[in-house]
Structures are given as structure tokens and as C-alpha cells.
Subunit: 125 residues, 4 copies
Amino acid sequence: MSSPIGKKRWAIAEGYIPSWSNGPAPELISHEAVCMLNTSDQDAHVEITIFYSDRDPAGPYKLTVPARRTLHQRFNNLTDPEPIPHGTDYASTIESDVPIVVQHTRLDSRQADNALITTIAYASD
Amino acid sequence: MSSPIGKKRWAIAEGYIPSWSNGPAPELISHEAVCMLNTSDQDAHVEITIFYSDRDPAGPYKLTVPARRTLHQRFNNLTDPEPIPHGTDYASTIESDVPIVVQHTRLDSRQADNALITTIAYASD
Amino acid sequence: MSSPIGKKRWAIAEGYIPSWSNGPAPELISHEAVCMLNTSDQDAHVEITIFYSDRDPAGPYKLTVPARRTLHQRFNNLTDPEPIPHGTDYASTIESDVPIVVQHTRLDSRQADNALITTIAYASD
Amino acid sequence: MSSPIGKKRWAIAEGYIPSWSNGPAPELISHEAVCMLNTSDQDAHVEITIFYSDRDPAGPYKLTVPARRTLHQRFNNLTDPEPIPHGTDYASTIESDVPIVVQHTRLDSRQADNALITTIAYASD
């Protein structure tokens, strides 16, 4: 591949970690994830900022996506500087020092059978 | 972040509020939402227009997304100038005076277990 | 709105009309739809072409999306020049003489509870 | 159509083949697919690379999408140079010698009723 694929700035306007779950853990715990792909030969240093409807943003949450690796990060597991409350509307930006590709996924198992959503995030120059 | 992320004009071609629901309210009421993220330092003044298959468009519906905040607006709750009928095909445009990011989500709980969809909306210059 | 939003050429790489359904008709019949929004002041004359894995493309299927209207067209209901077989992989292009926005949706009710997918289609200049 | 629609480089940051299924095979086996549309008059020679979280990438997996055809390739069925393990996070790039359109789909039937996701993949110049 001639150059790394992707952009350095991404946004996900939808964010919501369901408050309850059905089914075996950890696969079917209700969760929301940011999937990142780094095709470059350098580690990607990523900063995630969480935006809320009624308070100032939280973050940055700092992550590394190693060179030529993917990282599927559950928002549920972000704890530093603070966890994201469940049952609360949020949104996020993802900024990287090398181009990456970002996709958003949620598994909602609040009812007896799970529901899934995904979308490529919004990319910016 | 050096500049606000997003665009000022967005469109969602799919719109449909299911006519019935299963599960506890308000979380599992069938609904459709427009999720907006404003990363800028200025409030975003947003105008939503609703397009139908068989009549003239309705709106604008005026909303504010405060600076550095997200707003997940259920279409079900738009009432001024008029509510959106359920069980009816529609589409929407979202126009803002500052760049925002827009994502479309629906929760359909017409059957015993809910179904979910999402996509980043179509952005335009 | 200063100019109509959208593009004139779109593509959907995924297409599949499930072969069976559960639930009341017509709402919960398994179906796949192309949702089109025309914000312009002129009628959009649209031509859909269906691509298969093992035979030549079919079409064009000719539709009109009136000025300032949306049309949510079920692929199931396209019959001229020929219906799309169920349980068969296909893909589609959507070409219009004025800019439109295109979104793809499927409702799959093969099992007891329905599943839904959506995505904004791929837009091209 | 004046020129083929699409791009030559695509990426999907989310990838996960569920480890189990419910429902009749092959339709309702849990699977993940890359749907490719080639509207051009030349065969598309496609190379897929699979990225993991904890090991070097695998591939290329070589496929042909014939001229004016679509190919919905299940990741489950890729075997050369090696199969993709189930229950494992991965991501993918799709590179073609002619422009194509790529869409990502997963059917998850781990619980009694299936869940579906789709998104147009990320396109790059």
C-alpha cells in the first residue's frame, strides 16, 4: 500500500451505552465500541474526547493503535480520566497523529435478543 | 482541536417513525433521532426541514446545539411548527450556522425485541 | 436552501431481498428500499440499474422523485423491465438528472423479530 | 454510465465473525461479508488484507469481481493464504485495479433472532 489509508480527525455524533444487558458476558454485554485501523508503519497516538449534552467535554482519553494493527476499543472500558456514564447521551471525536480509519459499533442486548448498529465515522481533513 | 469538525448542510433520506412499540418507556419506545455534535466554541443554530412523499415540506424546526455539546433530538418530539406523523415516509435536511456532525438513528420495537439502525448522514459543502 | 443538496450518481454494493417473513403485512414484510430525497425545485428523473453476480445488469428502472419530495422505493416493487428475484445477491446504481441524496434500508423479518440495516449510499461526482 | 463509479482503495475498521449461530444454514449462519460492485467494463482484480490487534497482517487474499458484476464475499469463506479465526477482532483493506464500491455487512445469529449491520466502507483516493 503506497500510503496509509484514512484521516487524522474523526467524529461520532451518536453515543449511548445501554444500562442493562441479556446474554453471556463478555460477548453479549451491551456495549459501544470505536474500531480503529492503522495501516501505517508508525504507531498511531490517538486522543478521544467525549462530548455531553449538559456538561463540558471529558478527556482526552489517550490510546495507541500500533503500526499495522487494529484496535476495537469499548467505550465502556475507558476509565482515565473518568468512566462514561451509562444511559447517557454522548458524542466523541477521535484525533490521531497518523491517518487511521474509524468505525462505530454498538451491541444492545437490553431485550432478549441483541441489536447491532455500525457506521463508518465522519472523517475530516 | 484547531477548527470545528463537520459541515453546515446535512441530509437524511430515510425517515419513518414506527407506529407502535414494545418494552419500557422511554428507552424502548420506537423512535427516530438526529444526533448532532457541535465541537465549536459557538452555539449552533440549526434548522431542520422535513420532506414528505405527497405534500410540501414542513419547517423549519429550530434548535440550538450549544458550544461543545451534543444534542440527540428525537424526531418524535418535534412539535413546532407541527408534529411528524407516525407510520409515514419522510426525509430531512439539517442546516447549521457553524460546522456540526450529524448521525441518524432509529430504534424499532414493534416486535418483541428491538432493532436498531444508524448511519452518518450525508454532508455537503 | 441555496442549492439542492446531493449528487447525481450513487451506488449500493449490498442488495438482498430475504425469501421469507414474519409479522403483519405490509409493514413487516422482509424488504429492501432505496430512499431518495430531492430538495431541488425540479423533478428528478432517476434510473436504477441492478447488477448481479452471474448475469448481465438489468434496467434501467425509471422513477421520478418530484421536486421537494422524498421517495422510499422498495426494490421488491420494481417490476419494469423485470422483478428482482428474492434470495439473490445484487447491487445497484442510482443516476439522476438533478442532485439527490440516497440511503439504503433493509427490514429482515425471517426470524421471529425483525432486523434492520441502513447506510447512506456511496455518492460520486 | 460515463465512467465506472467508485474508488480503488477501501477500508473496513470493524471486523468480527461471531463464534456461534442460530437458524437454518446457510442463510442464517453468523457471517460477515464484503460486498463489492464493479460497474466498469473490465474485471476488477482485488486484494484484501486482514489486520489484527496482536499479530502481523494476513494476505493478500486475491479475488476477481468480473466486469459489470457484484460479488458478495463472506469473510468466513476466505481460506487462502489462511482462514480468519472466529471470535477475533480484525479489520480489512480492499484494493482494486479498477474503481469499485465496497459495503460491509454482518449477520449475527448468536441469539434466537438475528441482528444485522451494514455500512458503506471508507473510500480513499
